[in-house]
């Protein structure tokens, strides 16, 4: 199946070190378009680092050294990128803990539109409504659009962050353990959304929950101690793992 879909991201010989620590080693992988790719692996293996190097959030850290190539739509993002903010706008980020901006619900979603110069009230209202609906939050907040975003529950905040990320019209959604701070029902809501959104977006989800990976993954990248141990389609990964470490991980021998 995989060979029929387009490559969205292509990573070649990626090496990332922070300070003296060599965190990602010789990463080579491909992220298929309009699928859910799950980056799986035990805590501390470098999942977050891999995800953040894709939209260059790693630029924010001190002492980061990156070598190798990450191509988005065939263009290396570490070389000859004219506008880094353009690059970042192509990827909506959903973090481990929701981080709404210090403003009201409406403005959180409108933020991305406003900074790219859209200011017409009517247009903003329509778009905000649209994205809140996409994130399955509209019905809960339509009567309180102008209350502060932090008055929402954590699960609602995470969906707000999803809506905010979608509002910049990205091509990818990068989600770093997006459900780890949520209750089961909110987690389900986020998972269901992601499953529907994959028809329009390329989605990368970091998780260390095997069951979540089973539920949502089309494609799996299994990281262990900074290296890719196995990458393949989800069905193959779970039913027919090749590597001994993968087998041990699936048996639950470590986590």
């Amino acid at each position: 199946m995989l060979h029929m879909t387009k490559e969205k991201i292509h990573i070649e010989n990626l090496e990332v070190s922070i300070g003296k620590e060599h965190i990602l080693k010789n990463i080579n992988c491909t992220i298929p378009e309009k699928k859910i790719t799950v980056i799986l692996g035990p805590s501390g293996c470098g999942k977050t680092t891999l995800l953040k190097s894709m939209n260059r959030l790693t630029d924010l850290y001190s002492d980061v050294k990156i070598n190798g190539k990450i191509e988005l739509n065939g263009k290396n993002i570490y070389n000859g990128i004219s506008d880094i903010n353009d690059l970042r706008r192509k990827m909506g980020l959903l973090s481990q803990r929701p981080a709404p901006l210090p403003m009201n619900i409406f403005n959180n979603v409108a933020y991305g539109l406003k900074i790219s110069g859209r200011r017409k009230k009517r247009y903003l209202r329509l778009r905000v409504e649209h994205y809140l609906k996409q994130a399955n939050l509209w019905d809960e907040v339509k009567d309180r659009l102008y209350s502060p975003a932090n008055s929402l529950s954590i699960g609602q905040q995470q969906r707000l962050c999803l809506a905010r990320g979608l509002a910049v019209d990205p091509e990818l959604i990068l989600a770093d353990e997006p459900t780890s701070s949520l209750d089961p029902i909110s987690s389900q809501a986020i998972e269901n959304r992601l499953m529907e959104l994959k028809n329009h977006y390329t989605i990368i989800v970091v998780t260390h929950a095997l069951r979540q990976a089973r539920r949502i993954a089309d494609y799996i990248i299994f990281l262990y101690l900074g290296e890719i141990i196995e990458q393949c389609e989800a069905s193959e990964f779970f039913n027919n793992p090749k590597n001994e470490i993968t087998k041990a991980y699936l048996r639950g021998s470590f986590n």
């Binding site: 953040k52 706008r89 981080a99 709404p100 210090p102 991305g112 900074i115 975003a149 932090n150 905010r164």
Partner: protein, 286 residues
């Protein structure tokens, strides 16, 4: 393991210590306020508030300290405004643009802390030296600039302390939405920190209006209300000083009325500021 009785007593002692410390602070504040009120209210009059010194004012004659009230307000507002223009971008730059350059950040913080520690009289004399070099007279603008330089480190570091508390995930969220550093500074960091910013501005305003040493040579003193920035101006701290050192008891008493007025101005400004920061408090992300 310490036994539970020991730990309970430990807890009790520490609570008592903390209560005692709070009590002492409140007591001192109460005493100061009481002194100012007890001595200030009898000497207070409508005339003091609304007129400038007439001939012989400093020997117990008629008049008031309107010159110093207006002068101090002009001076403190001007200085706070200029300090704000310098401090806000500096503090934001330090926390947003230099976020990953820890060593540079710490060097700059150390440098500003040193500036904070320099006594205001040194700023005053430094400014005075420059004024003599260029042949300038004491004036409102010279005072405003001197005080602005003297309170800027206070404002920068107070803003810096609140900006430091902005969580990294908020920075990452704003960055990943494609914000420029400028947008992150003013649309996210600033908004998140409005209450702290207001406190920083109030603190600096308080220092500006209350300082005597930095305005002594730079602003001068006059019985008139300044009509332009190039004229000298009176200030409340100096007015208090001149009256309090007088040998005449009536004049000394009026010093307390001036102190009362100064305290009320600071109180009013603080209350307004609190009001502003409370309005923005509920948008903050914890």
């Amino acid at each position: 393991m310490k036994n539970s009785k020991y730990r309970k007593n430990e807890e009790k002692i520490f609570i008592m210590l903390m209560q005692a410390s709070c009590g002492i602070i409140l007591l001192i504040m109460g005493l100061i306020l009481l002194t100012i009120l007890r001595k200030g209210i009898p000497a207070f009059s409508w005339e003091i508030l609304t007129s400038v010194p007439k001939g012989g004012f400093y020997f117990g004659g008629e008049g008031g300290i309107l010159n110093a009230i207006i002068g101090s307000i002009y001076l403190a507002m001007g200085a706070t405004f200029i300090a704000l223009i310098i401090s806000l971008p500096t503090a934001l730059f330090l926390n947003v643009h230099l976020r990953k350059y820890r060593k540079l950040q710490n060097a700059i913080r150390l440098f500003i802390d040193i500036l904070w520690g320099i006594p205001s009289v040194v700023y005053g004399s430094f400014a005075f030296t420059i004024m003599i070099y260029f042949g300038l007279r004491a004036s409102l603008i010279a005072g405003i600039l001197t005080v602005a330089v003297f309170i800027a480190p206070i404002m920068i570091r107070s803003m810096d302390e609140t900006l430091k508390t902005v969580p990294l995930i908020l920075y990452e969220a704003a960055t990943s939405l494609g914000s420029t550093k400028f947008e992150i500074s003013y649309k996210v960091f600033f908004k998140q920190c409005i209450p702290g910013m207001v406190t920083a501005i109030l603190l600096s305003f308080g220092r500006a209006i209350g300082d005597a040493a930095s305005v002594l040579f730079t602003t001068g003193f006059t019985d008139n209300i300044p009509k332009s920035l190039t004229q000298p101006a009176a200030t409340l701290p100096l007015s208090i000083f001149f009256q309090l050192t007088s040998p005449i008891p009536e004049v000394r008493e009026r010093a307390y009325a001036a102190a009362l007025i100064l305290t009320i101005i600071i109180l009013l400004i603080s209350i307004t500021g609190r009001g502003i920061s409370l309005r923005y408090m509920n948008n903050q992300i914890k």
